[in-house]
Symmetry: C2
Subunit: 260 residues, 2 copies
Amino acid sequence: MGYETGDGTVGKALGVLDHVASFGRPVRFSEVLTQSDLPKPTLYRFIQSLTNQNMLSYDPDRQTYAPGLRLLRLAHSAWEQSSLAPVARPFLDALSNEVGEAVHLAQIDNGQVLFIDKRKAQAGFDTLAQAGQVAPAYCTGVGKVILAYMDDARRTRALQQQAFLAYTAATHTSVATLEREFDAIRAEGVAFDREEHEAGIISIAAPILTHGDRVIGALSIATTTQRHCINGLGGFRATLSETAVKIGAEARSWQSPTTV
Amino acid sequence: MGYETGDGTVGKALGVLDHVASFGRPVRFSEVLTQSDLPKPTLYRFIQSLTNQNMLSYDPDRQTYAPGLRLLRLAHSAWEQSSLAPVARPFLDALSNEVGEAVHLAQIDNGQVLFIDKRKAQAGFDTLAQAGQVAPAYCTGVGKVILAYMDDARRTRALQQQAFLAYTAATHTSVATLEREFDAIRAEGVAFDREEHEAGIISIAAPILTHGDRVIGALSIATTTQRHCINGLGGFRATLSETAVKIGAEARSWQSPTTV
DNA sequence: AAACAAAGTTTCAAATAATGAAACTAGTTT
DNA sequence: AAACTAGTTTCATTATTTGAAACTTTGTTT
């Protein structure tokens, strides 16, 4: 899986960037090399170029590479220019205050859930879901609700990118059982995460739609089983859905020609 | 200014990415083209590749390009793997609580100040709305203190990248006057921003050093002239410097072989 | 200290991919 | 319908990437 769909040199270089980032820690050149199918000098030059460009940073003491600072600047720009994140911000604040639980805003990137923004619960367990963090789509509330509302072509493609790893006993481990849930999700208008990704963590998620039907993201309220049961979370459905609808409407008008 | 130091195709493509991001809003292909020295098909293909790769996102309704979601994921990874940001986080929390003013953590990227983490005066969140922001180095507290503690080679290069635009009446508008201040900064151990970037905003900044002398970033306390005068800010010097030293020590030990 | 091993870097001819002038298509305006 | 503009494709030329091999540097073992 990944982006390597033959975008020439650029695609290869970005593949290397992802590869380095995927280690989750600073890595040496040789470590990357052993896991790469690129020949040594080729990989070497890509890493050199990326380092020159500040897309990677190099620690001379430890001789390791890690994703570079330039990415922060670019991501900041991406966040601000996103048609969803800045629009949704005040709604997240309001919802977070109202329900007193963790609130997450997510989109799909390359088949994975990508958290765009979050609010912590006041009582403060840390969901670790910071902006930029990724999670699987098939076993999270936001992921499942986005999948359920996608058009068939995109969903088919996204489903092929799911790993179906059993994180907990409740995790879907095949396309079949997951697809069966999609009808229920569309009927209810929300998806639940019943400890499918992490034991003790549950959530309720609603889709964010523009132009009435196209799903552009999802909003969720997440909590622990110690604080709420699934039925209790269901009590947030009206508030959550209303907020998601408002964000969708706002995002839509923001995109309309009138504003610019 | 920029990174275009002949890193072949990769460098050019990343130049295009920066270019698109620099608009600060979604742009059409033709808008980029008029400001680019690349021929039409070349620019077109770069934008296509970057879009394929999710480094740019394309809005089909408005036919515009903006920095893409993939950057958020990569930046999250960059932040977490940075040798400074995760280490400094608890110290920022503590300092912010103690002084009750805005606290900033910054590094230098391509001659510019890049904010790695922030704490608001009241109580806020550190999403990418804040981290990833850039500011000029020559007229900010964090920028000046980093420049003052850089080695000569790096400082010379960084100074060439400064625009010396007069944001306010107090802004340094030439290398000469700025360089004169560096001695004072090194003597005092902190730099002040005396409304040099924005009227009404002042700050005190201390360098973060590893291995005793190499500057890897800066920490600042920022406030408004309505709340404090420069002398009042000076009262934070001891606390600020102590925190900066602690962060430096921690970052250093984090990098040392013992931890891994 | 010498020999060895491993990691990192450079070379250079061959292979491949990028290039850009021009042509073409789709959508708008006159 | 013609003229114009923005976006897209073509294709021969050109420049860049490629990778086996050689080389250098760094660290480890004898």
